[in-house]
């Protein structure tokens, strides 16, 4: 319980509503297969386009599929896709960013120029161009979005890496004769990953939006896998007769994005205490200080 206290204190300072929304989204996404009351892809044309009832809590779509179950499964689809997109993007961004921060010089200049260009072109255009060349598909979508997303984490991890490299302990390691590998993997990389992760959570909202947008355009998640953007475009032709099927997935997606955006804003305003690394450093310092106290006591 003692371990949990600092985490709880940290969470307390973040906007409550955003945390509840994100918690709900993550919980629904993780346990979706067990939570969904019905099979999301079972069609029953006799029950198509029904309103809410005891059997179908939020009604059915034009193919008679249970909307409530589809909305829940879509949270899972979205969570998994966003996780893999951010995972791939952060791996590329952190690797290139730390290399740029470690080497400096022309490697740094070149990589940062690429990052500048990547950040100035809208991510949708980058990912659509990649899909246009490689062809649509789930993993193409993940790759395309990751290619549009890595410059952000690349820039942040480069900044963090530069600040770490200018710290005295790196200089001390160099004097001790530590190999570049030891400095890179033992000190630079672990220090960078923590801080970049914090920023990445703020990006999750826009990533979820991008996945939904690509699915809406028919180039992301393919039917019959339920996904909010794809459910929306699926129901769009029936907007006049059955607007519920358009509005529900739209609201679900908007809620998730608002949650992540509010969290991101509070991160930007620095309401979240220091990044993981600095906290770990502080704990370590406190520990070392307590050793000397023990020694003087003895």
């Amino acid at each position: 319980m003692n371990m949990l206290n600092p985490i709880l204190a940290r969470l307390n300072k973040m906007p409550r509503a955003a945390l509840i929304t994100i918690g709900l989204f993550v919980a629904l996404g993780t346990f979706a297969p067990w939570l969904a009351p019905q099979d999301p892809s079972t069609q029953n044309l006799l029950d198509a386009g029904l309103g809410p009832s005891a059997a179908h809590w939020l009604g059915t779509d034009h193919l008679g599929r249970d909307t409530f179950s589809r909305l829940i499964i879509a949270a899972n689809t979205s969570l998994v896709s966003v996780g893999s997109v951010l995972g791939v993007a952060m791996t590329i961004g952190i690797l290139l960013g730390t290399i740029a921060g470690y080497h400096r010089g022309w490697v740094d200049d070149l990589l940062m120029r690429v990052v500048d260009v990547g950040l100035s072109v809208p991510s949708l255009i980058i990912s659509l161009a990649v899909i246009g060349i490689v062809g649509p598909g789930y993993w193409t979508m993940v790759l395309a979005l990751a290619l549009a997303w890595w410059p952000m984490s690349g820039r942040i991890s480069r900044a963090v890496a530069v600040s770490i490299m200018s710290k005295p302990h790196i200089e001390a390691l160099r004097v001790l004769g530590a190999s570049p590998w030891r400095i890179y993997f033992g000190h630079l990389l672990p220090g960078t990953i923590g801080s970049v992760m914090v920023y990445a959570t703020a990006d999750a909202g826009t990533a979820a939006l991008a996945v939904a947008t690509l699915s809406f355009l028919g180039l992301g998640i393919q039917p019959p896998t339920p996904e909010w953007g794809q459910m929306l475009v699926d129901a769009l032709p029936y907007l006049e007769s059955d607007p519920r099927q358009v509005l529900l997935p739209g609201f679900a997606l908007t809620m998730a994005v608002i949650g992540f955006n509010t969290l991101g804003e509070s991160i930007a305003l620095n309401r979240i205490p220091k990044p993981l690394t600095r906290r770990m450093l502080a704990m370590r310092r406190a520990e070392v200080a307590s050793w000397s106290k023990e020694k003087s006591d003895a």
Binding site: P122, L124, I125, L128, I133, T213, F216, T254
Partner: protein, 311 residues
Amino acid sequence: MIHFISKRLKHSLVLLFMASVVCFTLVVSAPGNVAVLIAELRGAVATPGYVEQVEEEIGLNKPLLMRYVDWLGDAVRGDFGISYRTGQDVSADLANRMLVTGILIAGSAVIATLISLALGFLGAFWPYKLPDRVSRGLALLGASTPTFFVGALMIYAFSVTFQLLPSFGFDGPKSWILPWLTIAVLPAAVLSRVVRVGLEEAMTSPFVLTAKSKGLGRTAILFREALPNITPIFINALGTQVGLMTATAIIVEPLFAWQGVGDYFLAGVRFRDFMVVQACLLIFLTFFIVVNLIVDLAVLLTDPRIRRQWS
């Protein structure tokens, strides 16, 4: 002044060159043989002999550098080749579509500017009061709602429920309103925060204190002192948002059945029509570079501090 402009133009030319290299390599690195595609498009069986003949004809057997120079020369003259899917001239298709997208982006830029200035001033006039909180909430809502959902909501509200405006098509100003509003929501939300934060910052600076001590009212200070101060920041942010509108145009044009560049690009992506993708990408990138250039020149005109720096 002239020094600045010539330096900025040179910078833009370098960026244009980089953009052309990116567009070219993207298509060259595409998997699959383009010659086979074209041979099949012409209805012939793609025998090795015929494929070789096509390769010769469109210059695929030349060295890469030569192909780039040829392609760039054509592109500069406005010739983007023919579509692999329809066999039609890409430039001819693009000419009409650029006007449609131009109307879309210009209209929504104006709307976004008006809405964001109104919301931003509302917030700055009554800071931390109800209007400020409302404008802040609207900004969060506008920045978080997916554009395609905004479009669907607009159609549902104005075409289905109230039946005021047409839900699709491109004929006359009445059919332009919904797409304009749909695209304007996101930039208006972002820009209103820029205005609000910029005004707040300007209102705490010493020159505002001077103006207050001279006895100027709050309205007069906001419009006469703070507004010119945030103009360069606003133009900068507006430029970024106008660039981003090309991306939202890709979503909104198909939604409202507009035959614009975004719609064309999307069709190219869908059918892997490389020539179309390449041409649209080059147009988008050129558009960003030109918008950035205009923004920098406009900032130079509106910000006396930068003007003095360069003269």
